[in-house]
């Protein structure tokens, strides 16, 4: 993987360091990030995260053997504005992707830029045939984001969590490599 593959117009996707813990803790604990933190399995997705919990997240990512997590740094300011994770826990044939952007940097297209880059990475540099992800059923913005990226809804796993007095479904989305390639050809006008 050459380094330039992990750059976009406005961002650099880089390894996360211990020095990122404070910034990570700040945006993960923002109320609007609850339920969409996209942190390793079994890390609380609701309760405030202590600094030691955040260190645990960084440690889990650093030990990930079947995937990677990157910090999203703005080229212009050097600020960490989010993180993204790709993993192939089951099979490199069908990796998963998750992305979280700090609330004060959402709605600027940064997530789209980064996710597009990582999806291209998975299809161009790994054996991936299907890339999948998920969003909570209440997360309409996340689901619209996935649709814009070219994902299609492939199911709803009921009662995957609880929020505001109701069960939450996990909405599954996926994208096949031929779909990705066709969309890209269309976008290129080729």
């Amino acid at each position: 993987m050459s380094e330039e593959r992990f750059e976009t117009t406005r961002t650099i996707l880089r390894g996360l360091e211990a020095a990122d813990a404070e910034r990570l803790q700040t945006y993960l604990n923002a109320p609007t990030m609850i339920g969409r933190r996209y942190v390793p399995w079994r890390i609380p997705d609701v309760a405030p995260l202590s600094s030691s919990r955040v260190e645990g997240i960084l440690e889990a990512w650093s030990k990930e053997k079947k995937g990677f997590a990157v910090g999203i740094e703005l080229r212009e300011t050097g600020e960490l504005v989010g993180h993204a994770e790709c993993n192939w826990h089951w099979d490199t044939h069908c990796p998963g992707i998750g992305i979280a952007i700090a609330p004060d940097h959402q709605r600027r297209g940064i997530g789209f830029e980064v996710a597009s880059r990582l999806i291209a990475h998975l299809f161009e540099n790994t054996p991936a045939h299907n890339v999948s992800g998920w969003a909570a059923s209440w997360n309409e913005a996340g689901l619209a984001f996935a649709k814009r990226l070219g994902f299609a809804e492939s199911g709803r796993i009921p009662r995957s969590g609880i929020r505001d007095g109701a069960y939450v479904d996990a909405v599954m989305v996926d994208m096949l490599k031929p779909e990705w390639a066709a969309a890209r050809e269309g976008a290129d006008g080729t």
């Binding site: 089951w90 099979d91 044939h93 069908c94 045939h129 299907n130 999948s132 492939s154 199911g155 709803r156 796993i157 009921p158 009662r159 995957s160 969590g161 609880i162 007095g165 109701a166 069960y167 599954m172 996926d174 096949l176």
Partner: protein, 192 residues
Amino acid sequence: MALEGRLVLLREERREDQAVFARLRNDLETQGWNVALPPSYTEAMHIKRFEAMEFSYDRDSARFSVERKETGELAGFITYSDLEPRLGATIGIAIAKPFWGTGVAFDAQEVLLRFLFLELGLRVVHLWSHSGNPRAIALAEKAGFSVSGRIREGMYKNGELLDTVVMSLLREAYFVQHTEFEDRLPDPFPGG
């Protein structure tokens, strides 16, 4: 009270079960994995895994040996994992071929579901299968599961591109099927 059904007992696994478990793991049709595993697992490996298990009151998974009541034969195993207490879990089953079509798998699944819904008070149970395993899907549907999601062409097995399939069984659907039981556990989020 044992986990007992019409045909099977679900009991703790034992050291002497491991030879059967190795055989299940070495059969491409029963190993139950997303990607084919090399059929080269040994009984010794399984014994090592078995002996490494530690006592805990705080377990989010369990594996039961499925024993046929009539003969005492070991038919396979059944598991639950990813337990979210009082909310959900995921089950899995592997039954040796001589017991296919005998009702053992369905009975074992029913016994485990009874434990998960009536003892652990779960609101939903999930399982993962694939479109190339109609036997497992039919078994789940018979118990009331329905397909809740797919990863399209998410598997390559036996030369075929297959959909990974998630199936789910809601608590209320379980009790509709089991009128012999009354659900006395209040739903914390009725209608949700």
